[in-house]
Subunit: 300 residues, 2 copies
């Protein structure tokens, strides 16, 4: 299962008990952390996110509300004697910031930290379970979104047929992996006759901070779920443009044109004490929209 | 009135709803922020600390749990269109960190930020209300405590005498400032005959992160209240020494030898889920001890 848990859904200034940006994508026992605003490690404790399952951290851009919790988290891993290797993906200058802050604190890390510079449209992770890519958004400074594409899973057992043919339970895993079964009498039972093809892998994208930017549609087309910022309600289009952010209806328009299944919205300006209007406005253009609530896990 | 409000009383790893170090000293309408661990600005909102009243921020040392909330706070001041000048006092490398983080975010500050490098035993602020000094502690990296000495206040009116002599209310302020009063008939009423001397100014010291360090006693001798770290219970003296921290009884010993009025303890290791033993052990050496509870304001 591919899912995303929201840790922070607010823009730069914390307000109304909303926190700066962070979310955790979970797949097959791994946690992938996207952005790490101030207080993220405290939100992780609150929402019981397993820090030990984090192997990759992705930082979209170097505005503080997206990364000021990062070095504290790296330091916490160290204090907790983390041993797993950790991969941090971010804009180039982030490495200098990490090195400077660990350096002045005279910290020697007890685990291996790999830093990967984000650039263009690129594959960041590609294993037998998932493909993770970055893509550029249109923000005031260099900024990236991230897409998560689950690899197709295993074949599905047609359990009635499998049982009728008395195939041993110990062979079920092989059937799911596509193998045929040969009975003790030498009869071949073809895999296709007792299994169905796997469903398509799920796809999730985090579209980071951005102006209305149609160029990103190609990278998220047909995705099951996307998260797109809606810093402002739609009456503030000019302000959104000037500050390189998006409004409700702009996010909805991207979701509509990209033919995605569901839209999660967040990165709300601290000027708004309540969020009902965000949901209403966005749904008026793209019905299947939800507020990305902190502490909530959304199945993709 | 001189007081201190605790925003964070834990050591590096946030735990058990305790936060990294930060506290606010309030005097005569000004807030002086000491240390600014991750999440400090969120704690400020929770405990209704007026950000607009902060003119000086003091950072004891560059371990992240004492400053990772700083640049976020500086940025928030900017986003809130703060106009008041702000003074940040810290170890030299902090300026590079601030400059780097504001630089990569392409942020132009709307207020004037003055950076002051801490060094040795020095006066940081000295006006007609208060004197603030830094002094060195014994930590793994360069680290400073801060002392706050309220200037003696105004003379106290002996109100019965003042009224009996029919001195006009409009002259009360001048009497408090030490002036004599001349009646309309030319008779002089000496200030000493209608006022009493001001009480002594209150004194508070924040002793930062430190090993047991008797050299600091000279800087806090006879203070009304001090805050001294107790990262560990007293059975972990060796660990405390190796990590440049103090135990309960070591903090109490400093308070006892410095003849202070009250001891506040904090910077508790995340290994302790409860704090009762800290209070008990410290009180066994220095009775007038209190746990520095987050969200609590202590009058000095």
């Amino acid at each position: 299962m591919l899912s995303v848990t929201i840790l922070g859904n607010n823009s730069a200034v914390p307000a109304f008990n909303r926190h700066p940006t962070s979310q955790v994508v979970t797949h097959d026992g791994q946690n992938y952390l996207i952005d790490c605003g101030e207080g993220t490690q405290i939100q992780m404790i609150k929402y019981k996110i397993r820090r030990s399952k984090i192997s990759h951290i992705f930082i979209s851009h170097l505005h503080g509300d997206h990364y000021f919790g990062l070095v504290g988290l790296l330091n916490t891993f160290n204090l907790l004697s983390h041993t797993q290797e950790l991969h941090v993906h971010g804009p180039a200058a982030l490495q200098s910031i990490i090195d400077l802050q660990l350096g002045v604190a005279d910290i020697v890390m007890c685990y291996k930290l790999h830093f990967h510079v984000l650039s263009g449209y690129a594959i960041l992770v590609d294993d037998d379970k998932i493909t993770i890519r970055c893509f550029a958004t249109a923000h005031r400074i260099e900024c990236y979104g991230f897409s998560f594409e689950e690899k197709a899973g295993k074949r599905k057992l047609l359990i009635d047929k499998v049982r009728k043919l008395k195939i041993p339970v110990s062979f079920y895993g092989s059937l799911q992996n596509g193998l045929d079964y040969i009975t003790s009498r030498g009869r071949k039972i073809s895999n296709e006759s007792v299994t169905a093809p796997p469903g398509p892998g799920k796809k999730y994208a985090y579209c980071a901070d951005t102006r209305y930017h149609e160029e990103m549609i190609q990278h998220i087309y047909g995705f099951d779920t996307i998260y797109h910022e809606t810093t402002y309600l739609d009456n503030l289009r000019e302000k959104a443009f000037n500050r390189f952010h998006s409004t409700t209806k702009q996010a909805a328009e991207i979701a509509r044109k990209a033919m995605v299944g569901r839209l999660l919205i967040g990165h709300f300006s601290s000027k708004y004490s309540t969020l009902e209007a965000f949901e209403q406005e966005t749904r008026s253009v793209f019905q299947n929209t939800d507020i990305a609530n902190e502490g909530t896990t959304y199945e993709v």
